[in-house]
Each structure stands twice: as C-alpha cells, then as structure tokens.
Assembly symmetry: C3
Homo-oligomer: 354 residues x 3
C-alpha cells in the first residue's frame, strides 16, 4: 500500500528531460514539424553549427528552455491526436419484442492510449470505455454478456436500483460468468441519471484493465432547466492505462466542442482509484446532479472534485469564445516537464453561427 502523490523527484526528472532534449536536437525531423517555434529552430541551428569533431557545448539555459517548450508545443499542436480505437461510442440496441437488447462481449485487446502507446486492455466490445448505453427511464433492457476473457466476470449496473438478482455481484446475487460462457441481465430501467456498468468480479483488476462503460438514463420527465445543446460523458480513469479521459491520454483525448450561447452538459464519471478535481478554464460549471439524482439547488464551481464511483452532472453555458484548457488539477495527472499529458482536454467554444 503505497499511495497518493509523491512529487516526481526534480533531479531525476531534470536529467531525463536533458536526455530527452538532446534526443530532440538529434531529430530535426521532429523539431521541424513544430509550428511557430522559430526560437527552437534557432537553438538547434546553433548547436549544429558547432565544429565537427568537437564535443557539443552544454546547452545554455535558454536552449534548455527552448527544448522544453518545444516538447510542450509539440503535444499541444498534436491535439487531438488520432489513435486507433475510440471508446464510449453510443450503441444502438436491437429491439426484440419491445426490449432494447445490447450484446456485450468482454475480451482482451490492445488499446492505443496515446499515439504509439498500446496497452493490454480488457474491453467491452473492443472499446475502452465500453460502448455508451443510453436508454430512457421505464425502458425494458436486456444485456447479453459474453465472456471471452481468461477469468470469470460479471456486470454491475452501478447506480441503477435493480432487483437484487440483476445486481451483478458473484456469489451474492448470481454465479460468476465463466470464461467462454454467457449471461443475460434483463430489467426495467428504474431510475434516471448518469450511471455506469462495470465488472464486479475481481474488480480492482478487471475495472482497472477497462471493463467499464457509461449507462445513461434519460428521465421520463426531463427538467426544462437541464436542457442542453450538447451532452458529453467524461469517464475519468487512472489505472493500468495511466491517466485517461474516455480511455485516452492527452493529446489523444477528444475536445468538447460547442458554439457560443449553447449549453453543454458534462457527465463526469470516475472509474479510477483516485479523486480527480476537474478544472475548466474560462467559464464556470453549474452542478445539477450527483449520482443521477438532481441536487436540491444547483451550485457553481470551476473545479469539481470527483471521487471513485461518483458521477456528477454539470451544465456549462458557453459564454466565452475560444479554446479552453480543461484538466484534472492534480497537476501530476496532467503535466510533466515533457508537456501536458493524461487528464487534459479542451472545451472549444466556436463563434455563434450567424
């Protein structure tokens, strides 16, 4: 049991950076892809012009700053970086006799978290997070789980107030679903809100590896004040795959995009093991629901602390045009000397269309 944060040792990181910086200098191709970074190119040129044969002089402070900045710029310019696979994709159910049927297969895949960084993942339908299930209060839903993992598993519908035998906890409410076997959950959706589905068997490992997804329930009677123009789910995670938003680390995270004057609903869901206080630049968030239940009175903030298992729904009124950083404010979850990474994305507020 180690735990929370110890800052990275600055000395070690420094020398790592120095090495990284030297490598960058040796790779003009990389450097030349940078945008307006004239100073960095100047620094590189300066080093190249040193006499052949002589050992390169140690970089000056300004050169070191330029090299660090170049790494930071490179990350930001790459955003949103294209990676293989996209999680949290809305899933269309089959309809069978009025029942919304979702076929969910748990299986191992390779998942590209950032460009070139592939990790072992346990996925639902080859996505991390699994496909987004979005239904309405009162819907009849059937979930057919097929287990192609080497371990038993199960699905718990986190936040749904289901009959006990649909709760997905092996040996308490059902037998485990063995490797190669299938299991069917069926229920009438009892309560609205931003919920989740995930493994409840060997869950510290299985959820950590990716067996999780969003289960959003639209209310039968929507609250007028909660009407939003765009509706995002943001699943926070911090397990085997590093710090991620919807299964990807910056700059491979997805930006949130809207137009001036629009209302954006964000459904934060924490599937990790740590808190993540999400900070939005430029505009505040109005908190309207906790775990799917409306707060008695909405309240405002710009940094919302989200603990494991929690879901918080907020509305953002897009009143401030521009590209706004949006990140976990535990800074080591979001930035290193190499630049921003992990739990960082942006809210892009475009000028209103005429």
């Amino acid at each position: 049991m180690s735990d929370d944060a110890p800052l990275p040792n600055p000395a070690t990181r420094r020398s790592f950076i120095r090495r990284g910086a030297v490598a960058a200098v040796a790779l003009p191709a990389v450097v030349s892809t940078l945008g307006a970074c004239g100073e960095t190119r100047a620094a590189v040129r300066e080093q190249k012009e040193a006499k052949p044969g002589a050992p390169p002089p140690p970089p000056s402070p300004r050169q070191k700053a330029d090299q660090m900045d170049a790494m930071h710029e490179k990350g930001i310019k790459a955003f949103p970086a294209k990676t293989e696979g996209q999680g949290n994709q809305p899933m269309e159910p089959r309809i069978e006799n009025g029942v919304k049927v979702y076929d969910i297969t748990a299986e191992e895949i390779q998942w590209e978290v950032e460009v070139g960084r592939k990790v072992k993942a346990w996925s639902y339908n080859r996505q991390v997070p699994g496909p987004q299930i979005r239904v309405r209060e009162g819907d009849r839903v059937r979930v057919n789980l097929t287990n192609r993992l080497p371990e038993s598993t199960s699905i718990h519908f986190h936040g749904l107030e289901l009959p006990n035998d649909q709760d997905g906890v092996p040996f308490i409410t059902q037998p485990p679903v063995k490797p190669g076997e299938s299991y069917t959950y069926e229920f009438t959706v009892p309560n609205a809100g931003s919920h989740m589905y995930h493994s409840h068997h060997n869950a510290a490992i299985q959820v950590g590896l990716g067996l999780l997804g969003a289960f959003v329930v639209e209310p039968r009677r929507p609250v007028r004040a909660h009407k939003a123009d765009v509706d995002y789910v943001m699943v926070l995670n911090d397990g085997y795959h590093g710090y991620t938003l919807n299964g990807k680390g910056f700059p491979a995270t997805e930006p949130l995009v809207c137009s001036m004057g629009q209302t954006v609903r964000i459904r934060f869901m924490n599937e990790g093991m740590m808190i993540h206080p999400m900070h939005l630049h430029g505009m505040h968030m109005t908190v309207i629901a906790k775990d799917g239940w409306d707060q008695p009175m909405p309240w405002k903030c710009d940094t919302l602390n989200i603990a494991p298992g929690e879901r918080w729904d907020v509305l953002v009124k897009a009143t401030n045009p521009g590209t706004w950083a949006f990140h976990c404010h535990i800074l080591p979850h979001a930035e290193s000397e190499h630049g921003m990474f992990g739990m960082v994305t942006a809210l892009v507020v475009k000028p209103a269309t005429a």
Copy 2:
C-alpha cells in the same frame, strides 16, 4: 507515471494467485467447505486424477478461473465471519449526581481484524473502535481516562464545541496524560450530531493504532424527518490495521440489517488517512447531516465520499429486498484477486414481517 495509488502489479499478483491456487488444491478440506461450487470441485478432481508420479499439468484457464472464483466464494460465504472482540459497542454510563460517567482505559491489546489476523492495537476499553458513547444534547458528561499505554495520551472530542480546557490538545489546552496516570474531562454536551473521540497526542500513530471511538449526541429536539428505525455507526479506517469498517475487515465486518419499509440511519465517520467513497448497491442514500450539522436541504447519492475527520449522516429507505453489497469504491480497498476484503459489508433488507 508514479502516482497516487499504484495498482497492484498484475504480473506479480497473478503469480501470487497461482501459488495460492495451488495451495488451495492441496487443501481439499478447505475446498470442501465451499457451498454450491460444483465446478471448483470438478476442477480439483480433474487434477487429482492425473497419473501419479507425473508432474501435474499446468492448470487450464478454466481451472485457474475456478480456483480464483473459489477464493472469492469462500470469502463471501464466510460473511459475517466470527472474530474475537467487537468494537463500537454501546456503553452504559454510571450516573453520579446526574452526571453520565464513562470510565475509559487506553491500553494495548491484540485485535483480531479478520479471522486469524491479529494485530497490535491501542484500544479504549479493549475495543477498536472504542465503546460508542451516546448521550443527549445538554447532558452532563464525565470521562475518566486512564492511560495504561507506554506513551502519554489525551482525548479530543472531535466535533463537540467544548470549553477550551476540555479540548484535549496537550500543551495547548492540558498537560499530556502520562503512562499510568488518569485524567478527567467533564462538560455539558453543547451540540448534537455524529461526533468522535480520539487521541490528540502523537495522533498519527495513536489514532492509527486504534485510539478512537464514536461520540453520538442525540438532539434535544429531534427532526421528525430524520426518524429512523435502525441507527448504525460506521467508522472507516485505513491505518496499521488495514482497511476496516468498525475495526474489522471483510468478511469479519458486520452486516447492516433491516426490514422492508424501514428507514436506516448510517453515521459515517472517517478516522483514517484517505478518502473512502462508500457505495451502496440497490438503493440510494439521502444525506441529511455533515459533521453533526443538518444540511440545509437533504440530497441523494449512491456513492458518498468521506474524507478523514468528516462525519456524514444518511438515511436509506429500505425499498428493495435482498442482500446488497456496500463498500468503498476505491476498488483496491475492497477487492483483490483473492476476493473481497477490507471495506466491504452488506445491507440486508429482509421481507417485511406480516
């Protein structure tokens, strides 16, 4: 990426499990105590029927899954496991001239956290948490502390707005209570709510070792809407004794039991060093008080984040029959490849009596 909680290394844990599983196979007595686990028995039989003399074939994925499941099942079937000692037991005061007198002795004991796992504990009256003190607003209370520890100590009544000289902070409000000595606190209980008492001397160590207990103050004028049929205190801890609820780790934790239609009040108290977002399955919790103070408006959730030193009071309306998992949603505080452990219990909603 250093950081927060490092997930257990899967490779290491895997091999540990494998060793554990082999050990289980070698112990048919253990395996045979399992309940309906026919598949596990089959797996064991299969291995036993291998030719004598030949090295046993490596377990198949299915056998490994069965072995892991058997461990998980064993833990759950053992719940609630009987251990020596029970903490947080309601304490009857002596009455002296209208004063409620509590004699509290701090002393070292061996404390059985889980079956067979005994740890060194510093206890009040040989309990971890110490005996539950429950009084009424306006009561006159005397606490006689006797220190049988090898260190000085003191008691701070966390949450009570006492006169300064009863606040229990050595060298600020009183001298430390030396080994072998006694000290008396006496006060009129000023404010209602779910409070705590614990050492305030060398407290990171002393509270970590068990010098803590619940101090519940019933209000002089109870709020009608807060009327509950059953009233539980749940002390969360994560120190030297591991992850515990009321001093015990699953499956030695105590279930919360009620009947359909009843209202359960749960008083969460965090005496540890980490947050614990407690997640109840099957029903939501209505949050009514923070640190003993009524919230201006109750609000609902299914996962309540409780930070060190905080107390949160919730009501659960028992509307969903069955046995419901109830656990910290930082999953490594609640489950490993060996099964559930630590901060796990269940809310058992029995059918209403006719």
Copy 3:
C-alpha cells in the same frame, strides 16, 4: 515525508525517535527552554545522575514518554516561530490611468519553511505564496510578469473568466514567457471571489516549487450576511516544500487571531496535489462559497475537505474563547512522533475588548 497512505513504519520511526530523544538529552540547553515541563527535566536529571563511565541504562517507558512529550511541547511553545520571509503579503498596485498595475517577478530564492529548513523555491516577488492581489469586480488590472527563472513560464488566473488571450496557457492562448523576458496581462476583472494565480507551464513542477498566489476579488455588491471582521487567506500546499499553510510548516505557521463575537472569513485555497480536510476545533465553519461562487444555501461543518484547485470560503463566528487547534485531519500531514508539524495552525479567540 512520503505521504497519504502508508503510515510511517512504527518500528523505524520508533528507533528514530529514540535517537532523537537521546540527542535531546545531550542538549540540556534545548530542554531547559521548555516551559512547565518539570517531569521532563526530572527524567533528564535522572539520566545525568547515572555513574560516570557506566553505559547509560536504557530509558524507562516513563522517560521515553517524557522525552517524546518534550519534543511535542517544544514545537507548540515555539509557535508561532519566526522564520525569514513571509508569503501572501497584500500587494499595493501602482495606479496608471486608472489601471491597477502589479509588477510580478518570478525568480528562484531560498525559502525558510520552518526554522532552519531552507528549500529552493520558485517565487513571485520573493514570496511563497506570492503577494496577495486583492481587487474589486470591474477593476482594470495589469500584471507585468518578468521571468528571471531558467525556464519559460506563464500566469494563469485560476477562476477568473477572462478573455481567452489572457488565460495564460502557453501554445493555446499565448507563447511561453522565456527566461529573461517579460509579458503583460491586462483585463477587466469579470467575477468576484477567492481565486488564484499560478504558472500554467511545466506547472506540476513550477507550482510545486512555489509559483502561486491568491487573487481575491471583492464583489461589487457585497452580501450583507458575509460581512466579516477579519479576512484570512489560507493557501494549502504539499509539494517540494512539504506540508504548508501559506508557505510555512508548523510551528512557523501564522495563527489566525480575532476577538470574541467577531466573524472571521477564511478563504481556503488548495495549490497542492492532495486533498486536505481542514479541521477547526471548538467552533464550526459556515461554508458560504465554492470557487468564488456563493453556495445557494450556507451549510455548516467542522472539517472541510479541500481538493487541489478548489477554493472554499467559510465564516467562523468566534463564540468560544481560547486557542484552538486548526489542522489538516490527514494526521500524517500534521503530527509525527516528534510533535505537530506541517499543516497546523491555531485560531486564537481573545476575550472581547470591553
């Protein structure tokens, strides 16, 4: 200082203490500065009277307790300990054509966190936290940043809803400010509340080293119920400098002082990487604002969990005279076997002046 979780290993710490204690015994000058600690002096005398030449007898449990208590007392008696430098000092702006102008220089200094413990810090105007900027909603403000650090930097005004080009995020809203260069921010203050300013470049390191400060915006129309007699900013931190309140560790922290009957406003700001549940003894806090936004209804607590990036404003009605401990309730952030340290201060409520 590792952190949150793992409790210090008692055995290791014990032996460390033992060594520390012996050292204390060898330093009668230190011991003799203690206040009413007669028992400690007795214990020391006892050891000194042992025969010369003979190895000293191992300390008795009581002697060990006395030695530990002496260390605890020494820390408390030293409070508030005088150290070099004081952070968070109110800064007077220059006024140029109606604009409030703040000249802020980022530079490396040595910062005395506790008596004799100097650390490398990256500071604004040689303070950690940087100078406190306090303006009014609607003010025109100019901040001239000069970078004397060996790295590029920038300032993000955390919580202010500024035009995008004043948001301070290199490569998104501005170029980085290179070593030796200057950069000017200018804006009309858009929203009231307790905000912060800090680096947003290589921020896990730069903010960790001290590039942070409070930016308080008085509302144009103050809420009558929020009127306070004294107004404190308390910046929480836990990075390279250890656990600090306004840049100092106990006993070098500053006490909060008021008179009976007064109302104290405390503006908590977390610039660290961990939660800090701040616990006030003797009185409760009424929470009035989050991140500068009024809560819809005030609510009460005695332990307020503050996550990184969050600001919480509370009012304390000083109704209980005395010196009250006020500390983070993650106990290893506040106390060790050597005594209280880190995130500890006191609220001193003086008798009302006649």
